[in-house]
Amino acid sequence: MHERPDLIVCEECDAVHRKPLLGRAEIARCLRCDAELERHNGSRHERLLPLTVASLIMFVIANSFPIVEIELQGLSSQTTLLGAVLALNAEGMSLVALLVLATTILFPLVQLLILFYLLLPSTRAMPRLGTKVLLRLMHAVRPWGMVEVFLLGVLVALVKLSHIADVLPGMALWAFAALTILLTAVVSFNPRYLWRLLVIAPAASASQDQESLP
């Protein structure tokens, strides 16, 4: 079993291609199924850590303030995302509460924390402890983070409520909107590229260092 670094296999149709050399802003597509094989990322990885930090800050704001407040005949009521999850749980809908908790809080947070941990600058050349397990975990939770769907859900709920009560959007609503935009930029990174950046490239430079030693 040996590696073939000159080849690239399409993730979606298994077609074998010779690995192309890409120029700036170029994308290689599969000849057979038109899926993206590779993309020239340039210096985009330098933006990934700032985007992750910004997302984490927005995540904290979005989850610590009320999303919306309603007023009905002088009575008011407000909720955070976690409050909504707890209310569902209290009604005996614990599985639905768990689903909402996982897709809007847990999985996006896990993804961001893993990225933050792995991308923090380090002085050592070797990959950080647990890099491989964490990258695989991140790959597994990626389809299940649904912050952008939740944001649309909030908007639908607001319009629904505006017929019967006064609706005051809270600070967390804006934070969720910002978080959605930031997460889109973070998640658009192909995980294959992270493997190359965090595992393959450091290992290659470490072996080069060893060779150059007298």
Binding site: M1, H2, E3, R4, P5, L7, I8, V9, E11, E12, C13, D14, A15, R18, P20, L22, A25, E26, I27, A28, R29, C30, L31, R32, C33, D34, A35, H40, I67, V68, L72, S77, T79, G83, A84, V85, A87, L88, E91, M93, V96, L99, V100, K132, L135, R136, H139, P143, M146, V149, G153, V154, V156, A157, V159, K160, L161, R192, W195, I200
Partner: protein, 246 residues
């Protein structure tokens, strides 16, 4: 063995897939290659289920038991689809009465109360998307199981579409969750989640699991005799695509 590179510039409007010019590509399976599903590294002569040296994931030609698992999730999703649409997803109690809403009656409420844009959004996300996903995945699984060569490119694109839109049907679950958390004004107005929302959430999760277990590579798999003679050529004939825009 024919290997080709194809480069298209990252600009709108230069979509350059020319199916007439595309050569007869070989799959990694036919060349005794493994493309790692996790990190994308390509290995030659690896045993099935061997460990990838780079990422320690298992090297597999195809996802394990792809069609069987997809069928299992699809059948479960079809069963849950019925209570998801018939049972109430939301129970609204006010001073005067108690109102139970199903997915459909919620959409009709939006339509009749004048917010037809929202009616369309919820109709698409909660009704059309799950139905479209179920029908598409059944079509893909049946045709992949029969190793059909019918409309391969279109089926690959259909799978990509299913992957992209699947998550949006969680919309109604989130709407109900937020309303149930927010509208708790004791003795005046109260919104509770109905049983239907659990069934509906199950449909979304099951169809997502089905599309994750489906292996799109199966769409392109030929009957074994077709590929066998093509592997004879040891030296790759490299075809360089000259009409790429760079």
């Amino acid at each position: 063995m024919m290997v080709a590179t194809h480069v298209a510039a990252d600009q709108p409007g230069t979509d350059s897939l020319d199916s007439a010019a595309s050569p007869n590509l070989l799959s990694a399976q036919q060349c005794n290659l493994h493309g790692c599903h996790h990190c994308g590294t390509v290995w030659e002569g690896a045993a099935e289920n061997a460990q990838c040296t780079v990422c320690h994931g298992r090297l597999r030609q195809r996802k394990t038991d792809s069609l069987t698992r997809t069928w299992a999730f699809l059948i479960a999703a079809c069963i849950m689809y019925i209570p998801a649409n018939l049972l109430p997803v939301m129970v609204t109690s006010t001073l005067l009465d108690v109102q139970q809403d199903t997915i459909m009656s919620g959409i009709i409420y939006f339509w009749t109360s004048g917010s037809w844009e929202l009616a369309v959004v919820v109709f698409v996300a909660s009704f059309l998307v799950p139905l479209f996903k179920l029908v598409s995945l059944i079509l893909l699984t049946v045709s992949a199981g029969r190793r059909s060569s019918w409309q391969r490119l279109q089926r690959a694109k259909l799978y990509r579409l299913v992957e992209a839109i699947g998550r949006w049907s969680m919309l109604d679950v989130f709407v109900v969750a937020l309303l149930a958390g927010l509208v708790q004004i004791e003795g005046f107005a109260k919104i509770n989640a109905g049983v239907g929302v659990a069934a509906f959430g199950a449909v979304v999760v099951l169809t997502m699991l089905a599309s994750l277990s489906f292996d799109p590579r199966l769409i392109w798999d030929e009957d074994t005799e077709d590929g066998a003679d093509a592997v004879d050529d040891e030296h790759p004939a490299v075809q360089q695509d000259k009409d790429s825009n760079d």
